[in-house]
Structures are given as structure tokens and as C-alpha cells.
Amino acid sequence: MAAKPRLAVFKFASCDGCQLTMLDCEDELLALGELLDIVHFLEASDRAEPGPYDVTLVEGSITTPDDAERIRHIRQQSRYLVTIGACATSGGIQALRNWADHEDFLKAVYASPQYIQSLATSTAIAEHVPVDFELRGCPIDKRQLLDVVQSLLHGRKPHTPSHSVCLDCKRRGTVCVMVAQGIPCLGPVTQSGCGALCPAYDRGCYGCFGPSVQPNLVSLTTQFHATGMATPDIVRGLRLFNAYAPEFRHESERLAGDRARECDAPTAIAEEVQS
């Protein structure tokens, strides 16, 4: 066999949860090690070889000028660049800053904000460099991750379905929490991938895997209203891990409308932190 493909993992603004998912692969990771040479994965090892890389996994969003530069360099070094997780694919929960004044946050958090270099927004990797594949989730699902890596090795397309979480609920026999318990659930507009975890534990879907394809958000939020949910709560529900994914973002902005101030969770948080 020729030299094994070189795999690198890089982190940007994120919580490391997606990299942990990779470590959580355990047995499969050993098998992957047979097929791939993991040459840069600081979460797992201090081995940090320079590029070029055959496959690069990128966790996290772009929040600083340095990172915006660093991702361009990584892209140049990478044959395939795959983003992993909500931060890397939609800006993550830190994209809440996009609706607020990030200077306020800096002042609230840091004693000497003048030493902090930060962008006004948290944005997806694909807004900065071309991305070959985006793996959704907060965190990603390890089966999907293995499938993507395997797909690259075998030159096939990854099996990451675009359908809603509802289908997975039904396949595993979970009763609809929205219909049977009146729990607001983003499942009908969220892409599958987690295996429909939360509804199985009587919780509504939080939208960790971002919008499904052609999601009908207006209809769902209208139904949320009809069942007594207040607009600010709906907006907060949409502004979670994938707040800046275009479909979630547009609907939350539509709902927030001229009441943006009262609905604007990040501003409220910033005010709380300041006081």
C-alpha cells in the first residue's frame, strides 16, 4: 500500500466537543489509524506535523482576524477540508454576538479589552474558504464522522441524510413530544444526524444539527404561537447552537422584527454580565 493518507484536525472558536466525539470513537479510531496517518491532532497527541494534508477536519468558527488568516493557510495545505460541528458550519452559539455589539462583550468580560483582537462576528468556515463537506451537529455524531472519513477513503459520497429529525423519531419508535405532550420541538425543521436523541427523553429537539433541507419555519413557529409560546421564547429557541444558520437566522429575525431589542438574547446577556 502507498503512504497512508495524512489526516489533520484543527480547532477554531469552539468547545472541543466535536474533537472529543472523535476521541470517543475509541475502537474505530484505532482501526482508522490503520488506514490513515493522523499527523496533527493536538487534542489527542503533541504530534503536529506541517502540511500538506490529505484530509483536514476543522472544528470551530472564525472569530478573530488571526483565525481568518489561519484558515486560509490550512485550506492551502489541505486536499479535502471537512468542517465538523455547528461552530464550523454555522458560527456556533458564539454567533449570538452577531446580533450584539461585541465591544460590549469585550468590556464586560476582559479587564483590559484593548489587548483583545476580535471580529464583530462569529462565522462559518465556509464563509472564509471553500469547504468540501460540512458535517453538522453540536456535537457531531460519531457514526457520521466515521462515515465521512470512510467515504473519503473509498471515494464515495457520505451518507448524511438531509431529512428531518421526525423521521428518526419514528424509526426508533419515539412518540412525538409536540403532539402528545405539547413540548415545543424543532425536530420538524432540523436535519437528522443525532438519531433523534432528545425526544426519546421527552425533550423537544434543540436544533443541534441545523436546518433540514427546505425547512418550513414559518409554519412551525406559527404553531408554537398557537400553542401559547411567546415570541421571545421562540426567538431564543431558534438562536441556539445554529443561530446563524441562514434559515434559523432569517426566521428569528423575522419574528424579532421591530421588537428586536426585547427578543435579543445576546444584548440581554451582555447587559446582565455588565451589571
Binding site: A31, K170, R171, G187, V189, Q214, S219, Q223
Partner: protein, 375 residues
């Protein structure tokens, strides 16, 4: 009346006490059946493995409206005092996930072994409603009465024992009466129960049923009991919703460009719930499940839905690229083209798609609107 020598003939009825039902469940398990019946789970009545009468949702009932389902306490301890829940027997006969074949790579190439159904389980279903019997008969046509037979469905179906239960009430979402699929269980069962206060009238529907009921103690039925049973069953005939059964087919197929499709698409989430709770929907996809070095590959068939964009993918694009076209596909298939394909409507009037639609879309209302009536 009981005992192997004095079997109750097909078509006749006997009385079975509540403890007799317990005996019946035990008898089935001893005969090697996996007994499946209604149980309480996650705020709904779900079909699951049961071991005794005490596993049944005694004293519970359901309240159903479009997009709304709640359990409530009954005033009595009825075992079957509710209508239909989010699941159907489809999940046992046509399981949400099943392995259709196994491919193994050797130096000679790929060797594919197809699932011939030999190892599929043997179920006894307890509590099959009339609409569900109708649904099973429809899936029979899909999976074993067309040009090909699906070995997994056929094996499970052949082995399954069907103990039906007549409904004694209807939900506001029920419309089996207008579909001529209920509420009375008329055929397709091995045994059919009608619940009374102190036990069940059991109607024998097949030789298999006759043999089964002979394994437990029963007594003869009185005319009074038969009268009570009839009264109980009549409670299920009061149904709020109706489907224009005779005209629905022409209405949906004759109005393919009706503006109503766009209107319903504004509400439809395309989330697949209606298709998944439907007891006759049969769409599926096949996935490859591989080991890491791809020398042993299973093909897994999973439930899919015509509401998924990917479902109609061809040459890199989807044929049905809008919620409008996907809702139209579902409804025209269910009520219209199903007739041409399988000689029957695909709808049995169980109302699940109405209750379990998160936004409460009601197909009976859609058909009326498509026919030009006001809604």
C-alpha cells in the same frame, strides 16, 4: 365450551373472562409467539411486547384532535378503552429497519446472501382495530400480491396471529366509517374481541383462532351479552370526520394544478410524520452498512418518505423539488393512484396523519377544499 375436542367453529362467539385473557397471553407465549399489544409509553398508547393483562393500559383513554393527543383517565378499568395511537402494526410486519442482504468479499468476488425471511420473528398481535386489519390487508397487496414478494414481510405476515378488538368509541380524527374499513372488525382476524365490563365476547375468525381459543377456558355467550356488545360497538360509529370515499380519487387526481396544493404547502412542514404514522405507507430506502475495510456489507432497509427532498433524487436533482409537489404526491398517491396500483384506496380512515401532524393538517379537509368546497 372449551377444550381441544370441542373447538368453537369459525364465525361463532364465546365469552372470555379478564383472567382468561391473561391465560390467552400466557398460552401464546408458551406457543412461541412474541405477544405485542397496547402499552403506555411517553404519554401515548404504543404497541410493545406484553406479558400479561397488567401490561395493558387499563383505565386509560386518548383525546385526539388535529396535531393534538393526550392520555386521560377513564372512569372504568377497560383494557381497550381508547382508539389508535401513534404506532401501527406496520412496525412489526414491515419494520423500520431490516436487513435485506449481506455481501461478503472473498478472492472470488462478492457473494450476496439475501434475507429469505427464515429467521424473522413470530408475533401475536393483541388489540388490532378494524382500520388496522384493513391496513394490513393493503400492505399485503403491496408486499406479497404484486409481481414480487418481499420475503421479510411475507415471513412475518404468514406467522403473525391477529387478535382484533372492536372499537367502542371513536376519536374526532377517526373516519373509518366513511372509508368502509370499520369500526366493526369483519374479516382478516384470527380472533376478535369486544370488551364488556367483566370480560370479552370473542369471535372466532379462523381455524388458527379456533385452535388458540380452545387452549383457554371460555363459556358460551348469552343473548344479553351479545346485545351489550352491539351497544358498545355502536359507540364507535359516531364519527365527526368523513372522507368522500367515492369521489376522493377523482378529486385529488383531477386537480393536480389546484391552488390548494400551494396553500397546504404553506402549512406543511414536509417533516414526514404523516407518512410514518400511516399504517399503509410503505416507502423505504436501502443503505449500505459496512465494516471499516468494506469486506462485509449489510444492506439495511429503512422507512423513508415521499416528503423527503432526497427521495426523488435523480441525476443530481430532485424531481419533486417543493413541499407543494411532495404533499401532492403523498395525497394523490394515498387517495388516488393507489387504486390503480393496488385496487384499493391507500387510506383506511384511522386519522393518525391528522392527529400526528405537528401542525394539524387534515386530509379530509384538503380533499373537500380540492373538490372546490369551502373549508
Amino acid at each position: 365450551m372449551s377444550g381441544p375436542d370441542t373447538q368453537t367453529p369459525v364465525g361463532a362467539s364465546v365469552f372470555l373472562s379478564l383472567s382468561g385473557l391473561d391465560d390467552l397471553i400466557r398460552s401464546l407465549k408458551q406457543s412461541g409467539y412474541e405477544v405485542v399489544g397496547p402499552t403506555l409509553r411517553q404519554g401515548a398508547i404504543c404497541y410493545d411486547r406484553i406479558h400479561a393483562v397488567q401490561d395493558l393500559p387499563r383505565g386509560w383513554t386518548d383525546r385526539q384532535e388535529p396535531g393534538h393527543y393526550r392520555l386521560e383517565r377513564r372512569e372504568d378499568d377497560a383494557c381497550f378503552g381508547y382508539v389508535v395511537g401513534p404506532q401501527s402494526w406496520k412496525q412489526f410486519l414491515f419494520p423500520p429497519m431490516s436487513t435485506v442482504s449481506l455481501a461478503e468479499l472473498s478472492t472470488d468476488g462478492w457473494r450476496v446472501t439475501a434475507n429469505d425471511g427464515a429467521n424473522e420473528p413470530r408475533f401475536a398481535f393483541l388489540g388490532v382495530r378494524a382500520c388496522e386489519l384493513a391496513a394490513i390487508a393493503i400492505q399485503d397487496r403491496v408486499f406479497q400480491q404484486a409481481a414480487y414478494t418481499d420475503p421479510i414481510y411475507a415471513a412475518r405476515r404468514e406467522r403473525a396471529l391477529l387478535i382484533a378488538v372492536n372499537c367502542t368509541q371513536a376519536a374526532p380524527t377517526c373516519f373509518c366509517e366513511s372509508m368502509h374499513t370499520g369500526p366493526r372488525c369483519s374479516s382478516g382476524f384470527d380472533l376478535a374481541l369486544t370488551e364488556l365490563d367483566d370480560g370479552f365476547i370473542v369471535e372466532v375468525g379462523s381455524q388458527r383462532g379456533a385452535t388458540l381459543i380452545a387452549t383457554v377456558a371460555t363459556v358460551g355467550v348469552t343473548d344479553e351479552q351479545l346485545q351489550w356488545a352491539e351497544e358498545r360497538r355502536s359507540g364507535a360509529r359516531k364519527q365527526q370526520r368523513q372522507m368522500p370515499r367515492e369521489t376522493a380519487r377523482d378529486t385529488v387526481l383531477g386537480n393536480l394544478q389546484h391552488p390548494r396544493w400551494s396553500e397546504v404547502a404553506e402549512r406543511c412542514l414536509s417533516c414526514t410524520n404523516c407518512t410514518q404514522v400511516c399504517p399503509t405507507c410503505f416507502c423505504s430506502s436501502v443503505h449500505e452498512v459496512t465494516d471499516l475495510d468494506m469486506t462485509r456489507v449489510e444492506r439495511e432497509r429503512v422507512w423513508d418518505s415521499c416528503f423527503n427532498l432526497e427521495f426523488s433524487y435523480m441525476n443530481g436533482g430532485a424531481v419533486r423539488n417543493s413541499i407543494r409537489s411532495r404533499y401532492r404526491q403523498w395525497l394523490t398517491h394515498k387517495l388516488g393512484s393507489w387504486h390503480e396500483q393496488f385496487g384499493t384506496s391507500g387510506c383506511v380512515g384511522c386519522g393518525r396523519c391528522i392527529t400526528w401532524c405537528p401542525v394539524g393538517i387534515d386530509l379530509t379537509e384538503e380533499v373537500v377544499a380540492l373538490a372546490g368546497g369551502s373549508t
